[in-house]
Symmetry: C2
Subunit: 219 residues, 2 copies
């Protein structure tokens, strides 16, 4: 298949739907569905089919009129787009409750992403140990050397908020290009670094807002 890359910048909302599209097409292939259409995709995603068609038009010529989309080709397209055709090794900094849960989280079950190293400050009694899954927990002072050895460009930050910026700076100096930030602190980074933030409190507040909004509009 010819991978047709988009020329214009992809809207952020579309980019955020890419993992969902990928998951849906993997499911189609697993279910032995060979072709599909924008309505079926839209239904699985919970959006309208115009959104799907608009997104797909940005990716290039992926479907054929009257035939629809070839699920195997599209699965591979999204896999390439998301870099899931190669293994991605990840380092995690901050082995508290959330950090431990993330280390156990089965990113690798459905994708080629894997946390292979974890870090914390010397005061954390887990430093120097290895998790039951075999992931070493290092002293953060060894970060630079270890990351270079393991060719890691992606990191997860799950430390206390007030340490987030300092940890980000350390990671970037050690060669990290992308950070998944689980603290509510907004990180200041240079343009060549990518940050994706997951703020659990914000997610919960957004839920509460939509619940309240729904109550008021249906009153």
């Amino acid at each position: 298949m010819v991978v047709t890359k988009f020329n214009e910048e992809l809207p952020k909302a579309t980019a955020k739907r890419l993992p969902q599209y990928y998951r849906i097409f993997k499911q189609f292939v697993a279910d032995k569905v060979e072709r599909t259409n924008s309505q079926a995709i839209a239904k699985k995603l919970g959006v309208d089919s115009a959104t799907v068609r608009r997104d797909f038009s940005l990716f290039g010529e992926l479907g054929r009129r009257g035939y629809g989309y070839d699920t195997l080709a599209l699965r591979d397209f999204f896999s390439d787009l998301l870099g899931d055709s190669a293994e991605t090794n990840i380092a995690l900094v901050g082995v508290g409750n959330l950090g431990r849960a993330l280390i156990h989280y089965r990113f690798h079950d459905r994708n080629k992403m894997r946390i292979i190293q974890a870090y914390d400050v010397a005061g954390n009694p887990l430093v120097g140990t290895t998790t039951e899954d075999g992931i070493p927990i290092y002293n953060i002072s060894d970060l630079k050397k270890n990351l270079a050895d393991a060719n890691i460009e992606t990191a997860i930050i799950s430390v206390q908020s007030d340490r987030a910026q300092e940890v980000a700076d350390t990671l970037i100096k050690a060669g990290i290009k992308g950070i998944l930030n689980f603290t509510p602190r907004r990180l200041e980074v240079s343009d060549d670094i990518t940050v994706q933030s997951v703020d659990l409190t914000s997610e919960l507040q957004t839920l509460l807002f939509f619940m309240q909004d729904k109550k008021e509009t249906t009153k």
Copy 2:
């Protein structure tokens, strides 16, 4: 202060920025900043000031030309909008690694949201115990009775994906109106129920996509 509610439906992107605005105004008040403007807000949020002005125009008349925004009034405005002026009690279902981390997560430190009950199936040895913070972990068969007693309308689902829909159905039958869904499974619910999903794998894939995209555009 007069809370001016928006008449038209709030765009989803704006709604998702509400928790950030709220956090920023709480910080302004804590820092004893009495008034501010859209540029300063935009800088803290990492967006352009036109976005802030457009969002704020949807909320009604919040600022005064030549004066800017009163930080205390705005903090209270966002607090009301997000329902953070009242306590919100939350139930969590699924006390695995992620569930335990969420129980320990300090939602309450900065906001009036609090997980007060947790549930799992009888097979989980933690059922029948209480966490060190005093949160009881109940058998899921007691859900309906306990939720009604505690007046809980909001729940977090952190179970295995294949149980997510069944748990959601049980929660909704027990009176839950809003679900924060930590499984990758899309939940099918009726229109009166609100679902907010946090898919950790998707977040990581989105990060990898933006990293790859940045590499290609700066090549």
